[in-house]
């Protein structure tokens, strides 16, 4: 088991009170697993990704533990986390375009980065990885501005995995890209896992269809909590949580036409995380909610590896 998250709580401190962005999240990941983390804006998926590597100033670690390869990650301690960042846990940010220093040639930047982490550059290894993501070796002599969006994204991917981290967090890496580039980047991610450059990966996205192509397991979040976690095919073919079902129903597939089949969104909006309601957080928008939903549903394993937090599942 590579990653084990137990009852993780991370709140945002605001003047109006604590925003409970992550409110008791538990899950685990196997070695070699790609976990797709899906959900809508404000569900806490980005917060989860961030808390595993770097909390920003307003985030506070309230409770829960994170264990990576049997060692506990000091996620609330920014300085002690430094030993883990890049070596054990690494991140590909959403806007890689701005993650690179525009005044340095890429090769020099990589060398400086590695030196600051006390590692030396293995040029052959770097070049072989560049080939894997189909980047020419000449990119090392270029400035970031000379690369297209997809190339930058892949370059950052190579850089952030150079030290073979155990866990890689890819935060919305494809959402700013065109469909054809998106596909290439997604495949490169899978290639990295297959080549063993990263042991496991969390792929954060709002695009369920895309996740289903990359991830082994998909985890759906809603309003700071987990709704459902299951193998990718199970989520797509046999979703059990009403939120997952409605979300899937609202996706127009190629071939579905307005005139033939009118899709519907989910009425209402997620609850405020400043003062979330008791019980199931999806209750207000849920078509099948009943009285028992006033109690918070536990995460239950209804089938092997298929976890759902719903009384009606």
């Amino acid at each position: 088991m590579s990653l084990q998250v137990d009852d993780l709580r991370v709140y945002y401190r605001t003047l109006k009170g604590d925003v409970k962005a992550l409110d008791g999240v538990s899950f685990s990941m196997e070695d070699g697993e790609i976990l797709g983390l899906a959900g809508e804006s404000g569900c806490g998926k980005t917060t989860l990704g961030k808390s595993l590597i770097r909390m920003d100033g307003r985030m506070r670690h309230i409770g829960g533990t994170v264990e990576l390869d049997g060692r506990e990650l000091p996620i609330g301690d920014d300085r002690r986390m430094n030993d883990f960042r890049f070596r054990e846990v690494s991140l590909i940010p959403q806007y890689s375009m701005s993650a690179m220093n525009p005044t340095r040639k890429i090769g020099r930047m990589v060398r400086e980065l590695l030196r600051s982490r006390g590692a030396t550059l293995d040029l052959d290894e770097l070049e072989s990885r560049l080939s894997l993501v189909e980047l020419p070796h000449a990119v090392l002599d270029r400035y970031p501005i000379e690369l297209s969006g997809g190339m930058k994204q892949r370059m950052v991917m190579v850089i952030s995995t150079l030290l073979d981290p155990s866990l890689l967090i890819a935060d919305e890496v494809t959402s700013a890209l065109d469909v054809s580039t998106q596909k290439a980047v997604a495949r490169a991610l899978i290639g990295f896992r297959d080549a063993g450059f990263v042991k496991s990966m969390i792929f954060v996205t709002h695009d369920l269809a895309l996740t289903s192509h990359i991830a082994d397991t998909i985890m759906v979040m809603y309003a700071g909590k987990l709704a459902e976690k299951a193998p990718a095919t199970a989520i797509v073919k046999k979703p059990r949580h009403p939120y997952t079902k409605l979300l899937l129903d609202s996706l127009p597939e190629v071939g579905v036409r307005y005139t033939d089949k009118r899709l519907a969104g989910i009425a209402g909006s997620p609850p405020s995380l400043l003062d979330p309601p008791a019980g199931c957080r999806f209750r207000d928008r849920c078509p099948i909610a009943g009285e028992e939903c006033a109690q918070e549903p536990p995460m239950a394993e209804i089938e092997p590896n298929h976890f759902v937090a719903c009384w009606k599942a």
Partner: protein, 297 residues
Amino acid sequence: MTALQEVPAQDAAAPAGVRREALYFALRNGKLLTGFGIVLALLLLGLLGPLFLSGTGSEYGTQPMQPPSAEHWFGTTTFGQDVFTQFVYGLRTTFVVGALGGGIAAVIAMLVGFVAGYRGGLVDEILNMFTNIVLVIPTLAVLLIINAYLGVRSVGAQALFIGLTSWPWAARAIRAQTFSLRTRDFVDLARLSGANTWKVITREIAPNMSSYLFMTFILLFGGSVLIASSLDFIGLGPTEGTSLGLMLQNANQWSAMQLGMWWWFIPPGAGITAIVGSLYVANVGLDEVFNPKLRET
């Protein structure tokens, strides 16, 4: 931040109209009230003070080098001049120079900045070139020449000259800000609502940077005060009357510091600092009033 949702505010009884609403919050903003309060107090002192004082502060008195007392609130100079009277008249001059110089500079800066930033293209190129030319004019050297040939020695002329030379950096700042606002969709939307260039600038772009503009004015105001002081210091100030800068110059010239006459140089220095500083505090408050996001948290 995706994790932070907007929570609808509960101010259901918000007063109608943007202006009334701004006023509503302005009256409840401590920074704004404090800042403006101090400036207003100093302004009133400068405006009304002379009515209650005898003399203009330049007359020599019989009690030189007196520390502050009931008779001479701020003490007297080496020549027996009353420092308080000088201070009051100096405030007047300083406000005039600041408001006039800062005002002229702000108007030019806004005109150039808005037009260059919004129009772009050739208009921008020309205005930008003009801005850069004025920017590199050595103010002091030119003033020396003008002074030598024309003998400009009134406060108004000094303010005019400062205004005409200190706008370029502000114009560039406003231009840059306009440039980034121009590409925002709400400008397009205003155009789709039939608004012309003038309307877009005054009703969409300017309100968005109102606190920025005010800040610019404050900095220009403060800058004018400081430039005027330094001009006074090298003897290019107005010959009639006095100013806070002239007071500092005199204090320095007659070794007030070495003689321990702190009452001579502290009031003018503190006056300049108080005016510029409290305007800055007011600006921070104004930012909160105009920006509804800052206001709520």
